[in-house]
């Protein structure tokens, strides 16, 4: 029965596909969490707290969207946290030297791309695993950030720079708008652009992509550059928000960005996932932290809970994969 059921498959499907949240399980966890926390601490649902949560998750969100594109293509970047720190302190140093904000920001974004391209070339031209390669660049960049600042934070970055991370557009923080713009760009890229298709292909089966005549190495570098660019943006946004740049600015962010992507359903082997999944991952991590704060749970326990959530999410995804 070859032509028995022509699947209903017209234009709306493309749109539906974009909103196709593969991770309903995680979405349910998210909703349950919201209900539980809002009963325990009604202030959770106040407009102010919601704005607060969104503001808090935006930096991680921007970073995780870059990680989403990269991890779908089968790559991984552990250096994004150190890259955030390095970009932050470089921009901070430039601002202190009286260089205009626009140029410092531009330089920070370019630096992010440069870091990404180094990671990308290492990953493309060697046979070593990017996990280890970017562990190396992570350590190098951490050192660079300390060398630049001699270990001291750079404070008082100026009111104009603070707009990036602290500005408001009406009632909405600029940083949240930025996050959603980044998400839309990455979502459109993955779904509707040729480069997105190639990310899925390389992540799904690199050798098949190569046999199909796709210049795999070049695209790999591009995906690391994209990830590095958003790491740079995240570093700028964070240092602007706290009006301070220090070598530990992005510490821990690499693990949370990978965690958010994995919670959102991207396997470490790549080939699957989308920005909606990562969004649920980012929100889940943010809401857990915010909820525990509201419930006055000690900050140390937040690590424990976050770790447990990552483990449970991975187990759920792995089981779903097997069932299908």
């Amino acid at each position: 029965m070859p032509s028995a059921q022509p699947a209903p498959d017209r234009a709306p499907r493309a749109l539906r596909g974009m909103f196709d949240v593969q991770q309903w399980g995680i979405v349910f966890v998210l909703i349950a969490l919201v209900i539980v926390i809002s009963i325990a601490a009604p202030v959770f649902l106040s407009a102010r707290n919601i704005r607060n949560v969104l503001q808090q998750v935006s930096t991680l969100g921007i970073l995780s969207m870059g990680a989403t594109v990269l991890m779908i293509s089968g790559g991984i970047d552990l250096s994004v946290g150190s890259a955030m720190s390095t970009v932050g302190v470089v921009a901070g140093t430039m601002l202190k030297a009286g260089i205009p904000v626009e140029i410092a920001v531009l330089a920070g974004l370019v630096l992010g791309c440069v870091i990404g391209s180094v990671n990308g070339m290492l990953a493309a031209f060697t046979k070593a695993h990017p996990f280890i390669l970017t562990l190396g660049t992570m350590t190098i960049l951490q050192g660079v950030a300390i060398i630049i600042t001699q270990g001291y934070p750079i404070n008082d970055l100026g009111a104009r720079y603070a707009v990036l991370g602290g500005g408001l557009v009406g009632p909405v923080p600029l940083i949240v708008i930025l996050f959603f713009l980044v998400m839309i760009v990455c979502g459109l890229l993955l779904r509707f652009l040729r480069v997105g298709r190639i990310a899925y292909a390389i992540g799904g089966n690199e050798y098949t992509a190569y046999l199909a005549g796709i210049p795999v190495k070049g695209y790999k570098i591009l995906f690391y550059v994209i990830c590095g660019f958003f790491a740079g943006l995240a570093g700028l946004v964070l240092s602007s928000r706290i009006s301070s740049a220090m070598p530990s600015l992005g510490a821990g962010f690499e693990m949370n960005s990978i965690g958010a992507a994995v919670i959102g359903g991207i396997p470490l082997t790549g080939g699957r996932g989308n920005v909606w999944g990562t969004l649920t991952g980012v929100l889940l991590l943010g809401i857990i932290n915010n909820g525990l704060n509201l419930l006055h749970v000690d900050a140390s326990w937040q690590y424990v809970v976050t770790g447990l959530v990552i483990i449970v999410a991975v187990i759920i995804h792995e089981r779903r994969q097997k069932k299908r």
């Binding site: 498959d9 098949t208 046999l211 005549g213």
Partner: protein, 498 residues
């Protein structure tokens, strides 16, 4: 001592995913004898030895060792009964010494489990001496040549008190001096009352070393004879059987030359191969495993680098160019390992169909998804691909449908030369016929096909010419209509020479 068989096999049957590959095989192995098993690729030799060594479980039949029936076998149990298998791919730990490898799992230890190196190496040296092997027990296995490593495996088997040693293509990677050495070791094994099951494509060797020979064909034992009572020609005939050739390809009015290989060499794989492929023609590449036919195909696809010689496609020199240039000119490679190399399993039918042809479904950087689905649906219809729709992930399709999706990826590019590696491996009969139908359609459109297949029937029926590879060289190019399976096989295993 009564000379009853050490190993008796009766009616062994085995199926893989519903397809029976062994239909009741019998075998008697006499003590201290060398028993050769021969057969074409896919005759069931590998399955049989994997059952004997405990890797696969048999579905039916009886195995007796020294007259005692053996119920369930695992690799460990098999070794416990003295059945040791030496596979083509060596089973040694390369970064340990010869001595440690020989005594692996049984290293002598003293107080606090400290290894007694002196005893270990002394013991190993004694075993090596018994075999007249001039090997240092302290040498690292990784530093040894292929023949020496094999000798270590034999020493290891002897240490384990092996009574039956199974050797799978033991000479495949050996030089002729090393082969002489191996035969000396086999003779010594016989002197130690060890029996050997010897599997090889090389008939010359079998006549040199074996006492008896069994021919397997299509999972059945065809004949078993003492080696002195059979000739090489009879052996080859038994291997191929008396087959009536049915639907061969029709004659072809040979057209324009598409592809010309001149003196093509690939490092470590093939040497000085010259072939010409015209429009509308299929050349089948025959040869045993390791004959270099797949490597030749990969080089012609632009995947592996060419050492010497030229690849002329419609007059353009392609040797030394990259894979993308080959595709741009019109040559594509359809790999044999469909799931691991040919498809992105996590992508949809549509995504796989257009993967090599993204230019046709993009406007600038934008994908035209509706157009992509239309193209995919077109190929689903043309090739009768059964899927829920173009959006279904290919991992949920059956093997035959996956194979057709992989083909549509290249069909939609409209190229001229198709390099097919095992195009029907692992698909059912229906899908196989459909794939052959697609190939015939390509010929009608004036394409050229170069095909590697281990299936001799497929080669005979779906080729115009058969190029037989042997040890990296072109042994013969035969007209498929004028040759027969026996002749092809003779060239492949080297009993006939050009």
């Amino acid at each position: 001592m009564a000379a009853g068989p050490v190993l008796q096999i009766r009616g062994i049957r085995k199926s893989f995913s519903g397809v029976e590959v062994l239909h009741g095989v019998d075998l008697d192995l006499a003590p201290a004898s060398v028993h050769a098993i021969v057969g074409e690729n896919g005759a069931g030799k590998s399955t049989l030895i994997k059952i004997l060594s405990g890797v696969h479980r048999r579905d039916g039949g009886e195995i007796r060792v020294d007259g005692v029936p053996v119920e369930v076998l695992s690799p460990r149990l098999a070794q416990g009964m003295g059945v040791v298998t030496i596979y083509q791919e060596r089973n040694l730990v390369p970064h340990l010494s010869v001595g440690e490898n020989i005594l692996l799992g049984d290293v002598p230890t003293g107080l606090l489990s400290v290894v007694q190196w002196k005893r270990l190496f002394g013991h190993a040296a004694e075993i090596l001496r018994n075999l007249n092997l001039d090997l240092d027990p302290r040498a690292l296995v990784a530093s040894l040549g292929a023949g020496e490593q094999q000798a270590v495996e034999i020493a290891k088997a002897l240490y384990k008190k092996a009574r039956i040693v199974i050797m799978d293509e033991p000479t495949a990677s050996l030089s002729s001096a090393e082969i002489d050495n191996l035969f000396r070791l086999i003779t010594q094994l016989q002197a130690e009352r060890v029996s050997v099951i010897y599997i090889s494509h090389r008939l010359d060797e079998i006549f040199q070393i074996a006492d008896r020979v069994t021919v397997l064909r299509d999972g059945r034992e065809v004949i078993t004879r003492p080696i002195g009572e059979i000739t090489k020609e009879e052996l080859v005939k038994a291997m191929v059987g008396e087959q009536v050739d049915t639907t061969r390809l029709g004659a072809v009015a040979e057209g324009e030359t598409l592809l010309e290989l001149k003196g093509l060499s690939v490092t470590g794989a093939c040497h000085d191969v010259s072939l010409t492929l015209q429009r509308g023609v299929v050349i089948g590449l025959a040869g045993t495993l390791g004959s270099g036919r797949t490597q030749l195909l990969r080089a012609v696809a632009g995947i592996d680098p060419v050492e010497r010689g030229s690849i002329l496609f419609q007059g353009h020199e392609l040797a030394g160019r990259g894979l993308r240039e080959f595709i741009r000119r019109g040559i594509c490679f359809v790999p044999g390992e469909r799931d691991t190399r040919g498809l992105v399993l996590s992508m949809s039918v549509a995504g796989n169909t257009t993967l090599a042809n993204l230019d046709a479904v993009t406007h600038g950087p934008m994908m035209d998804l509706p157009l992509e689905r239309r193209i995919a649906r077109q190929y689903m219809e043309a090739l009768a691909i059964q899927a829920r729709g173009p959006q279904q992930e290919v991992q949920y399709l059956s093997g035959g449908n996956r194979q057709k999706v992989m083909l549509s990826k290249w069909l939609c590019l409209g190229l001229e030369v198709f390099l097919l590696d095992e195009p029907t491996q692992g698909v059912d009969v229906g899908a196989r016929e459909e794939i052959h139908r697609i190939m015939k359609k390509l010929l009608d459109e004036g394409k050229g096909i170069l095909m590697v297949s281990s299936d001799l029937d497929e080669l005979m029926n779906m080729s115009h010419r058969i190029a037989v590879m042997r040890e990296g060289q072109l042994a013969a190019v035969l007209e498929a209509r004028k040759t027969n399976r026996q002749e092809v096989l003779s060239y492949a295993i080297g009993t006939a020479r050009p």
